[in-house]
């Protein structure tokens, strides 16, 4: 078994996932958080495609990946709109300062 196997893909996608989580939690800037989310989505899409190739031998996993990518795109569009809206409202996109919901 060469290194082009499902284990490699799982490791890569695990790495992407963990980095995504770390980024999402630790960043202050909303755009940074958004990047973390993109990493997480990417890792799961990669996982689906890998299982589709090595385990199920059919294309349905790839379909899920496509749907994930499309949803990521949709999310990006909404995120941009929200960021602009937030920036105009608060003059800043620091997540720490957006605590209107603080109890």
């Amino acid at each position: 078994m060469g290194i082009i196997a499902i284990q490699s893909y799982l490791i890569i996608s695990l790495f992407l996932f963990l980095m995504g989580i770390f980024t999402t939690i630790s960043r202050k800037n909303i755009i940074g958080i958004f990047m973390g989310i993109e990493l997480i989505l990417n890792s799961s899409a990669l996982n689906f495609a890998a299982f589709s190739r090595f385990s199920a031998h059919n294309l349905e996993g790839q379909l899920f990946s496509i749907f994930i990518i499309v949803i990521a795109a949709a999310e990006a569009a909404i995120a941009l709109a929200l960021m602009l809206s937030i920036y105009r409202r608060f003059g800043d996109i620091d997540a720490d300062k957006l605590d209107s919901l603080k109890g």
């Binding site: 290194i3 893909y9 992407l16 973390g36 990493l39 589709s52 031998h57 499309v70 602009l84 409202r89």
Partner: protein, 172 residues
Amino acid sequence: MNVEMKEIVFFGVAAMTMVPCFFVAFSRNILHSAFALFFTFLGASGLYFFLDADFLALVQLIIYIGGVLVLLLFAILLTKNIDNIRSTNAVAAKRAAAAGVVTAAMFGVILYAFLASGWPFRHSGAGQYPAVTTKALGKLLLTTYLLPFEAISILLLAVLIGSLVIANRSVK
């Protein structure tokens, strides 16, 4: 050990995917983060090629790099003054420690899942994986998965309208 050329390339692509993740996570300059993200996406696309998922790889290139990343850059451009960009992507120090703990815990859980499910991995199923996926994918999308396809079309339409509405709303 007999290392083939293909595997060397694969290793390079994997590295190209993973290494920039550090920059995404730790760089203080948001533009650097975005640039690193570009390489991660590019690497992921390469990984798809290694999975014989040609269509998916192209979709990754077009949508992530052509769409998401450009949107991201626009977001950076439109929300921050360009001169104080160096310190824009700060890490909240206290939370970074907590984030590390959470990440480590997640790592533990997933590692356990890997091991419990029988690492090394068992093969199952023996279907023929198609050499060219685009046509087969199109057929699946328009037959078995027509409903999700239509649903996602509606989602995209809603996003199109919704993002316009959100971005256009004037601040009172």
